[in-house]
């Protein structure tokens, strides 16, 4: 794992924001649309009861813009102060140009770098890491956003995926500041053993879109190795979390709150068991919003801050793992 520890300029968490679409779908709603599981099965297997789904007119950039605007308001910064926009997503508005360009336009940002990165469910951690490195090399204020509208790539009749995902966006404004506060360290890794663990077969250069690929249903998310993904997600989060904490001379005992990626409730229960920390340390909202892919951690962090679950003085660990496999961890001193 590659760890970055700010050692000359601190990286402050100046503000967060999140946006969830208005349409809340229950398990019964999904079943009415073709989900082949019962409500009892969905709850037992995933712990998820509702998730938010983007309206037909809403694209990923719309969700990202709203979350970014809220984060900027919380941080008290204006568009002219943003030096860089980093947007993590696996569900772009279009294959080209980047979704960040659309968000850039909507926010009215200046002539600054704005780009997408793809790291599946670890996207917010990857965005944070890139933002921290940008601040270390001269930026003053960076917007790190993660947004996904996975519902556009779901087969409503697929047992493995149809009930798990929700749509949403989360954002953070990071600013240069004193060391010892804010982001204490961040680590990222990829284990490409999981390169086809969760993927969309067609629509890219490997398998371009044709009438046949559409007819064959090859444009929706495939997760054919669910058990391996389930176990790998926990392994990825525990290993990156432990590695980062070790690099910072700490353990799970030194962490007040853990804000994890939330693929499903079973994974979170296993996470506490394998990581050997008290499950009460986990901030969990998966039952209400499902797996929001790369935005999950950002949305959960924002909710934890707004509800007081995360308070000044606390040490908060973000951990995530996702398709690829990607994994990331970040330690915050609030």
């Amino acid at each position: 794992m590659k760890v970055f520890v700010p050692d000359r300029i601190g990286v402050q968490l100046a503000g967060t924001g999140a946006y969830l679409p208005a349409d809340v779908r229950t398990n019964a709603d999904l079943i009415a649309r073709g989900c082949p599981l019962t409500d009892e099965e969905i709850v037992r297997l995933s712990g998820i009861r509702t998730r938010h789904v983007a309206a037909p007119h809403e694209a990923t950039s719309d969700l990202a813009t709203e979350a970014a605007t809220r984060a900027m308001t919380t941080a008290g910064v204006t568009a002219s102060q943003i030096d860089r926009l980093i947007l993590g997503t696996v569900s772009p508005d279009h294959l080209t140009p980047s979704t960040a360009c659309f968000v850039h336009a909507r926010l009215g940002l200046g002539p600054i770098p704005a780009f997408d990165l793809t790291a599946s469910c670890s996207a917010f951690l990857f965005a944070l890491e890139n933002a921290a490195r940008a601040i270390a090399t001269g930026d003053s204020c960076v917007l790190a956003v993660a947004a996904d509208v996975r519902s556009r790539w779901l087969n409503p009749a697929d047992r493995a995926t149809s009930a798990l995902f929700g749509d949403g966006a989360g954002a953070a404004v990071l600013r240069a500041g004193p060391l010892g506060q804010g982001l204490l360290g961040v680590g990222l890794a990829v284990d490409s053993a999981g390169v086809k663990s969760v993927y969309v077969p067609a629509g890219g250069s490997r398998e371009p879109s044709t009438a046949e690929t559409v007819a064959a249903g090859r444009h929706t998310i495939v997760m054919s190795e669910g058990p391996q993904v389930y176990l790998a997600a926990v392994e990825g989060m525990v290993e990156t979390g432990v590695s980062l904490l070790k690099a910072l001379g700490k353990t799970f005992d030194d962490v007040d709150l853990i804000v994890p990626h939330q693929p499903n409730r079973r994974i979170l229960d296993r996470l506490a068991r394998v990581g050997r920390f008290a499950p009460e340390k986990l901030f969990i909202n998966v039952e209400r919003i499902g797996n929001v892919s790369g935005a999950t951690c950002a949305i959960a962090l924002d909710e934890a801050l707004r509800t007081g679950a995360a308070k000044p003085g606390m040490r908060v660990l973000l951990i995530a793992a996702g398709a690829g496999y990607t994994a990331g961890a970040a330690l915050l001193q609030l």
Partner: protein, 72 residues
Amino acid sequence: MRETIRALVAEHRAAPDDDAAPIGLESLELVMLTERLEDEFGIQVKATEVVPKNFDSIGGLVAFVQLKTSVR
């Protein structure tokens, strides 16, 4: 151990009489079986260990759990 594993498999599918016969568990059932094996035998299953050789038959499961419990 063999009978315990057969009982755990039977929570999802009728366990075949032939130890080498395919069990035919689907994805979500495999997840639940993995957790039940961990609880029952005090082992921790890794993602790389969920392969057909270990999980496709009663015989494979028995050999896998024997190996895991022998190296604890």
